[in-house]
């Protein structure tokens, strides 16, 4: 009987505790929302004036509850603004010690805190914050590694290119897209490092380098990219090199890309190669694409039709001709012409 009563009492106590927790949680959430609304209403005008080059703006002393709200609010502005306004706001954070505090938080125990600190440092964009962020590329928590890679991209030091590329390797890699986005943010100054990386031993590093070179429109790297669409290279790298060559758009790439449309190549390589040819759009491309419009693979034939539309008037002329002829490509030609005539983009992006 004693055991039963104790079990009952403990269970009732736990239930009562949960009810209390529920009510307290609600009260805490409401209070936090109220504080956030009050601080936002009070400080938003000051931040806007600071961004608008008003030297008389003074941020009042904030309590421990209010400081994080202000930090989050200002970070929202920092993400959205560029130029002098951004620099003024960032300088205010450096002077107030918020940046130094965030550097310290990069070493704290909780992964959420480290990720938030890295994100904040990236948002401020102070170059001195990079050394604190860089070790986080090997953090045990994925969200911290992602936050660190993004932060280094926003901080914008070209010296960080090797660290970002190396972060793709190992048993704690940073996601490919995150690294590629960050490298793109670093701009043309990253191109020499990327051209070197394209010759490296790691597959994902080469793939990332190729992708970013294309995104940056690095015309000087055309030969490097052409060297890596050779069949001895992995398809992951070849596809990204072909896409990059399409983005760069140099006519020098037409012949090598046309060779990738050969039936001996994989479907994914051919599908990307025809879209790249469409983007290049140089003389001779239309004839080569026209031959591939009858391809047996739906994705390739569809991409060829879209690429012909990308080629402008010569491509449309070929499509009109093929639409009236018998053959597998007629249906694709008719669909592409219909879509082009209404101005609707082709459904889906090239894959």
């Amino acid at each position: 009987m004693t055991v039963a009563i104790w079990t009952l009492a403990v269970t009732v106590a736990v239930a009562a505790g949960l009810i209390l927790t529920l009510l307290v949680a609600r009260a805490v959430v409401r209070r936090r929302e109220r504080v956030r609304a009050e601080v936002t209403a009070r400080l938003r005008p000051a931040i806007v004036r600071l961004l608008a080059d008003d030297d008389d703006v003074a941020i009042p002393n904030l309590t421990r509850t209010e400081a994080p709200v202000f930090e989050a609010l200002a970070s929202e502005f920092l993400i959205k603004v560029r130029g002098e306004g951004h620099d003024r706001l960032a300088a205010m954070f450096v002077e107030s010690g918020a940046v130094a505090a965030a550097e310290r938080r990069c070493r704290q125990f909780g992964a959420g805190g480290r990720a938030a600190a890295a994100t904040f440092l990236g948002t401020v964009g102070d170059h001195d914050g990079a050394p604190a962020v860089r070790p986080l590329l090997r953090d045990r928590a994925l969200e911290v590694r992602i936050a660190a890679a993004r932060a280094l991209g926003r901080i914008g030091r070209p010296d960080d290119v090797p660290a970002l590329l190396v972060s793709l390797e190992g048993d704690r890699p940073v996601p490919f897209a995150t690294v590629a986005d960050s490298l793109t943010l670093l701009g043309p100054e990253a191109i020499p490092h990327l051209r070197t990386a394209l010759r490296g031993p790691n597959l994902m590093v080469r793939a990332a380098a190729a992708e970013v070179l294309g995104l940056l429109g690095a015309v000087d790297s055309t030969e490097d990219l052409l060297a890596h669409i050779h069949p001895v290279e992995d398809d992951e790298v070849r596809i990204r090199c072909a896409r990059a060559l399409g983005r760069i758009g140099t006519p020098r790439a037409v012949e090598p890309l046309a060779r990738l449309v050969s039936p001996s190549e994989g479907d994914a390589v051919r599908a990307v190669a025809v879209r790249a040819l469409g983007r290049v759009g140089a003389a001779g491309v239309v004839d080569r694409l026209s031959l591939a419009l009858d391809d047996e693979v739906h994705q390739v034939a569809g991409n060829v039709a879209e690429a012909l539309v990308d080629c402008g008037a010569p491509g449309l002329a070929v499509l009109r001709q093929r639409a009236t002829e018998p053959g597998r490509g007629a249906a694709y030609a008719r669909e592409a012409l219909a879509r082009a005539s209404i101005g609707a983009p082709d459904a889906g992006a090239p894959t």
Partner: protein
């Protein structure tokens, strides 16, 4: 003590042990689920995902909406207001539903002769295809004949071209960043992620306008409150590991790679929940192919659906859920796990049957025994604890998690009513729902290979009066031009066949 007393006491003890084990397992699962959900929310606050919006490497997503229903226009508009850079929306319905006409007027659609590949086999032909004149990436198709949901979804899988595919339930309400959260695992680990799944949360009482939540609130009636308590408990219990049960019990969101969908032959007809079935098949096939494959459960609240508002709706939903669960287990056993777990279907049925049976029989034995003085009060108290108080405590814990992760507007008295509902729900209501689910499970007995009616088909939409801008052109069937549908990957046994992870996205 008489022989009757010994029998009654034994029944009560069995009830205490059985229900105690179930309550303990649920408590541990709920604790892990609650931890995952709260942790996910913290991580979400720590990271900004704005860069994903601007990234050219963000994978395009195709949303396939089959039978969008009479408020299709609002729902599709809501989809296009989602924050995602590369979105393709494909609406599929049967001819005569009026969907193309309704959407045609709202989105300025014009007919286009599209090529319809048959990458996965479909038993219907496309009769109408229209695309948006502007850049909204909307394609609407209507098919001939009597098509079920799986047929419509397969037409969509054939037509979409994005790398990731999501079969969207028409009644789901999505948060602004739902697709960003759902696609995040594919960006973080594109080689190994095969699926991401999010359980839908209940939304009874909240105000939904044009497919968006404009005001949150707790449910207004006692039935919806108790139904919501049950729903929330399912959400928390399923938050730890990605599982088709999240789709079965809550009707959630599932994002998969299109090539995996095609590889396994697409959605299968005759299923209460075709996406749960596909999720199960894809995860199994990929795990057996590569032990590093992962599927990810999204713990943050990203989608909601309005729950049943009447007892008959709740009964129908519970029966459909039971039916779909039984189908999933039966087909799964047929597909290769029968040797490993030869009685898996029987075990699931037994568990679903056992818990309400234990509650009923042990409860009756306790009441009778107590009345005739043959069962000790201590046993009755222990039974009350494991049968009523522990489940009620678990429900209170899920309410606390909901309040911490998705705080709703409203008065304290509304929250108090939810607390009362959580305390009362284990007494009678839960048993009734369990009985309805059991009916659904039993109705699937022996019908594993027989197509059944869909779980909850939306009502047919009334045809609008106005005509579309242009007459529809016949689409081009390309069956003779497409490659043969990819055969399902043969199932091979490997040692590591279960690696899933929870996440904080």
């Amino acid at each position: 003590m008489s022989e009757l007393g010994v029998v009654l006491s034994a029944i009560v003890v069995i009830g205490i042990v059985g229900l105690g084990v179930v309550a303990a397992v649920e408590a541990v699962t709920a604790a892990l689920g609650g931890r995952a959900m709260v942790g996910a929310l913290r991580r979400r606050r720590a990271m900004h995902d704005e860069s994903v919006l601007a990234s050219p490497l963000t994978p395009p997503i195709a949303l396939i909406v089959a039978r969008p229903g009479p408020d299709a226009v609002d729902r599709i508009r809501a989809l296009f207001s989602l924050r995602y850079p590369e979105l393709e929306v494909l609406v599929v319905d049967t001819r005569g539903s009026g969907t193309a006409k309704r959407l045609g007027e709202a989105f300025d659609l014009v007919s286009v002769p599209i090529v319809v590949p048959k990458l996965v086999p479909v038993g219907v032909t496309v009769s109408t295809s229209v695309v948006a004149r502007d850049s909204s990436r909307l394609l609407v198709v209507e098919v001939e004949g009597d098509a079920d949901i799986a047929d419509l979804l397969n037409v969509g899988a054939n037509l979409v071209r994005s790398r990731l595919v999501c079969a969207l339930h028409a009644d789901l309400v999505l948060s602004d960043d739902a697709l960003l959260r759902l696609a995040r695992p594919f960006m973080d680990d594109p080689r190994h992620t095969v699926a991401s799944v999010a359980a839908a949360r209940p939304l009874s009482g909240s105000t939904v306008h044009h497919g968006r939540v404009v005001a949150t609130a707790w449910p207004p009636t006692w039935l919806t409150r108790m139904s919501e308590v049950d729903h929330l408990r399912s959400v928390v219990l399923e938050a730890t590991l990605p599982s088709p049960r999240a789709l079965l019990r809550t009707g959630g969101l599932l994002l998969m790679r299109r090539d995996h969908v095609l590889e396994l032959g697409g959605f299968r007809s005759g299923w209460g929940s075709p996406d749960a079935d596909l999720f199960r098949r894809v995860v199994h096939a990929r795990l057996l192919d590569s032990p590093h494959s992962t599927s990810v459960a999204i713990s943050t609240p990203i989608c909601w659906r309005v729950g049943p508002e009447t007892a008959s709706e709740l009964a129908a939903l519970s029966r459909a859920e039971g039916l779909a669960t039984a189908q999933l287990i039966d087909r799964d056993a047929i597909q290769g796990h029968r040797r490993l777990l030869p009685r898996l279907g029987v075990a699931v049925r037994t568990r679903a049957f056992l818990v309400p049976l234990l509650q009923l029989v042990a409860g009756l034995a306790a009441v009778i025994g107590l009345a005739i003085g043959q069962v000790s009060l201590a046993l009755v108290i222990l039974l009350a604890v494991v049968a009523v108080l522990l489940p009620a405590t678990l429900s209170l814990a899920t309410l606390a998690v909901e309040e911490l992760t998705f705080s709703r507007e409203g008065r304290f008295v509304d929250l108090g009513a939810m607390v009362v509902a959580a305390l009362v729900e284990p007494i009678g209501v839960r048993q009734t729902v369990a009985w309805w689910r059991l009916q659904g499970i039993l109705s699937a007995r022996g019908e594993a290979d027989t197509p059944v009616a869909e779980a909850a088909p939306p009502a047919p939409a009334p045809a609008p009066k106005a005509a579309p801008a242009e007459p529809a052109a016949p689409p081009v069937e390309a069956a003779d031009r497409q490659e043969a549908p990819a055969p399902a990957r043969p199932i091979r046994r490997r040692r590591s066949a279960s690696r899933r992870r929870r996440t904080g996205r």
